[in-house]
Amino acid sequence: MEPVLTRYIREPNSYTLDFFLKHDGYNGLKAALGMEPNAVIDLVKASGLRGRGGAGFPTGLKWQFVLKDTPLPKYICCNADESEPGTFKDHVLMERNPHLLFEGCLIGCRAIGAKVAYIYIRGEFFHVQKVLEAELAKAYAQGYVGKNIMGTGFDCDIVIHRGAGAYEAGEETALIESLEGKRAQPRIKPPFPAVSGLYNCPTAVNNVETLCNLPSILLNGAEWFTSLGPEKNGGPKLFCVSGHVKKPGTYEASMSTTLHELIYGHAGGIRDGHQLKAIIPGGSSVPILLPHELEIPASFDAVAQVGSMLGSAGIIVMDETTCMVWAARNLLYFYKHESCGKCTPCREGGDWLHRILTKIENGEGEMRDIDLLTSIGSNIAGKTLCAFGDAAATPALTTVKHFRPEFEAHVREGRCTVPADWRAARTPVAH
């Protein structure tokens, strides 16, 4: 597949407005401004575009749910929090193609009748934010954002809002809370943001990559978009491959590409002299897949069929030197650290899972601890306000499920049985 979103990213100055305008820049917006807002929504629905932030929810449908018949202002919130471990695609898009995102935001605003789009960018991406701000200023100056856009009478502002280091701020209602100047903690749903979101007004929260797909849909049509991938999984997709591969990076491909092809073709395969042990296909929150499960299309539906999720398409590759108790403990540290603390199962359970995993890794575990991991995990998943709980339970549940003998060996031998030279010499502590 010819790259669509990342076609020009390796060309010098591809991030500038001048470059963008020479390559169809803001033409998708021009098309959208010539259409009725409902027609834009219908087109996006027909394209089947699914959200790239993790859940894969159809974008057109999300927009259709946004309350139209109301005197309240409406908002687009662009989710540029990108903090799912193993995910770094929005980073590339914003750094190399910021105007594509602005154009996507404006098309979204046109479709739902919003006058402002807030781009919530994670605090750690300050170098990216500087690019966005400089380019946004140019877009304002040349009339692509702001009042009377391209002389059409359409007014729309874009505001860049910097986060401050919180994974949970990527969850859509927590993102809204954070934008309102509060702790990034999720809200009870319903009401969904489409009815009552930012400042209690109708809001659509869309991921960066999702919005970046809009201009090409408006220019090339829904049929073109669906033709790029398997049924219900159309369009170009960015895949982030990291871990023990030769060429980690962001790769754009069709969702009919297999996971095997992404890892062995695009990313160059496993480090020399090593074998693949397991992958996490969709960011750290999703279940592990084993080497024999990779001959499937890297699509939302195909990956779900084998019991995992495409999620944010962050593919983390681990070779045989990776201890699965260690990997689970590494991720549980992340989840216990990032838990917002609102729901008891997640707040207490995440910390507890981490303590038990540390104990097992240090060789101090007992056999019954292994079952306890499963029991705690199943008492977190599905019992919290947002999907963070499921995400936090998953690394423990999935590693025990697939690598139980490794856990038992740690208990039996009283030490880590899969040491690696790239790990720390110190033993982990459970604080």
Partner: protein, 202 residues
């Protein structure tokens, strides 16, 4: 009752509050240019939604004095029409705000899975060894603070190290850490490798 029948409660060991009161600090008001920057930011949000600018305001505090103090919290609260408790509630949630005095260079090593697979634990150990401090500590000269951070969103360039919430170092190897520290000490932000996506170099 807990969410799980086997959950242990032991406030001495597990359920300990980590909350510490902020230092009073010096009297605080924003320098005029920072106050102007904040006032400009406030125009981006509805007039009755001033607190939306709180993260930006707290960054400005850090820009001015390096970390958050009770005096700064009260000043920010006054501008954004929030109580000091509300400001502190927000400030203590986000890891990029420093709640105590930190070194001139805050070295933030990504510790999450992809970076760890690429040797981030060894990088932290090497930095710890070079600086003579454990993660979470500041060296006696007040030059460096070492922190472990969570996935920075550049896992293809692992291990990643950020300095002062901004400067970006990619593919850091343990054997480079000694040189990196000296370089940061000597050149500050200029020592950073920058983001590899930026192909245009001055």
């Amino acid at each position: 009752m807990s969410f799980h029948p086997l959950m242990l409660y032991d406030p001495e060991r597990f359920q300990r509050s980590e909350r510490r009161l902020l230092e009073e600090g010096e009297p605080f008001t924003f320098a005029p240019e920072r106050r102007a920057a904040l006032d400009e930011l406030l125009t981006k949000y509805p007039p009755d939604r001033k607190r939306s600018a709180i993260l930006a305001a707290l960054y400005l505090v850090q820009e001015q004095q390096g970390y958050l103090t009770a005096n700064a919290v009260r000043h920010v609260g006054g501008i954004l029409e929030m109580t000091p408790a509300e400001v502190e509630d927000v400030a203590t949630y986000y890891v990029m705000f420093f709640k105590e005095k930190v070194g001139k260079h805050v070295v933030q090593v990504c510790r999450t899975l992809s970076c760890a697979l690429a040797g981030a634990e060894r990088v932290t150990e090497a930095l710890s060894h070079t600086l003579g401090i454990a993660p979470g500590e500041t060296d006696p000269s007040g030059m460096f603070t070492l922190l472990e951070f969570e996935c920075l969103g550049a896992c293809d360039r692992a291990p990643v190290v950020m300095v002062n919430n901004e400067d970006w170092h990619e593919r850091v190897r343990p054997e480079d850490c000694g040189r990196l520290v000296e370089d940061i000490r000597a050149r500050g932000p200029a020592a950073s490798s920058g983001c590899h996506l930026r192909i245009e170099r001055p």
